[in-house]
């Protein structure tokens, strides 16, 4: 059974909290354990922060869209913004010695660390991040 829902939200930290709560709810209902729930929730939060802060730059005229899907074999979360577009190839490696003491630049790295698949899609305007977590046989559809 496929379950799917989505939100269109303002570019605010309140929206980040709402997306984070929705991700946690989806993870728990899908049978993820505590560590997996933490990781998925954090990855989705980072994606939402990216959309609100770096994508839309808190612009009240711009929205973010967050969609959540459990298709029975995977959890698929898409977060899109209406910003200038993000080219992942331009992101510095936060583990490189020269970047280790940087005060920022770890969000996408954490997303990639915690999800099974991460895809970037350039919109016109904006960026859509697709985060995928594969479910194992003991985890059920929501």
């Amino acid at each position: 059974m496929v379950s799917r829902f989505s939100y269109t939200l303002d570019s605010s930290l309140d929206s980040v909290s709402k997306v984070e709560e929705a991700a946690e709810d989806l993870a728990q209902k899908s049978g993820l354990d505590e560590d997996q729930t933490f990781q998925l929730t954090m990855a989705v939060r980072e994606a939402a922060v990216n959309a609100v802060l770096h994508g839309n730059a808190y612009d009240p005229e711009k929205k973010i869209v967050a969609s959540f899907e459990n298709n029975g074999s995977s959890l698929i979360i898409r977060i899109s913004d209406q910003g200038n577009g993000l080219d992942p190839a331009t992101l510095p490696d936060p583990l490189a010695p020269e970047n280790l003491l940087s005060g920022s630049g770890r969000g996408i790295f954490l997303i990639r660390s915690f999800m099974d698949e991460v895809h970037f899609k350039l919109l016109h305007p904006g960026t859509e991040l697709t985060l995928i977590k594969h479910l194992d046989s003991t985890q059920k559809s929501a």
């Binding site: 980040v16 280790l100 003491l101 005060g103 920022s104 770890r106 969000g107 790295f109 660390s113």
Partner: protein, 116 residues
């Protein structure tokens, strides 16, 4: 779900007891302001007690790094005390576990300052 900070002095070291979440917005700004204020007053040896920090995001991690470098740039030191498993794991993933001086015991942490 904001962060709380209380401050105490132990043998010349300022201990900040943090609790809650260090995330983009309130938590990371609170930490930044607290460390900036201490460094401005000349309190350059700072121990962040993270025992009750149950969540930190990439912004919070960045704030820890910025606090660390700010203290070091002023001739001081910033160490971390009592990481929860989640924070410990995040610092390992981001390779920051070896950058910070991290202690589990407060007395040992304070002693490490005085030996420096």
């Amino acid at each position: 779900m904001s962060m709380k900070i209380s401050t105490r002095q132990v043998d010349g070291v300022t201990v900040l007891d943090l609790s809650g979440r260090i995330t983009l917005g309130e938590g990371s700004v609170q930490l930044r302001n607290a460390v900036r204020e201490l460094l401005g007053k000349g309190s350059k040896d700072i121990l962040l007690n993270l025992a009750d920090v149950n969540y930190i995001d990439s912004s919070g991690i960045g704030e820890l790094v910025s606090a660390f470098t700010a203290a070091r740039n002023q001739g001081g030191e910033l160490k971390l005390l009592k990481l929860t498993k989640k924070v410990h794991d995040l610092l390992q993933i981001t390779k920051l576990y070896t950058v910070f001086d991290i202690k589990d015991d407060e007395a040992q942490a304070i002693a490490a300052f005085s030996k420096a």
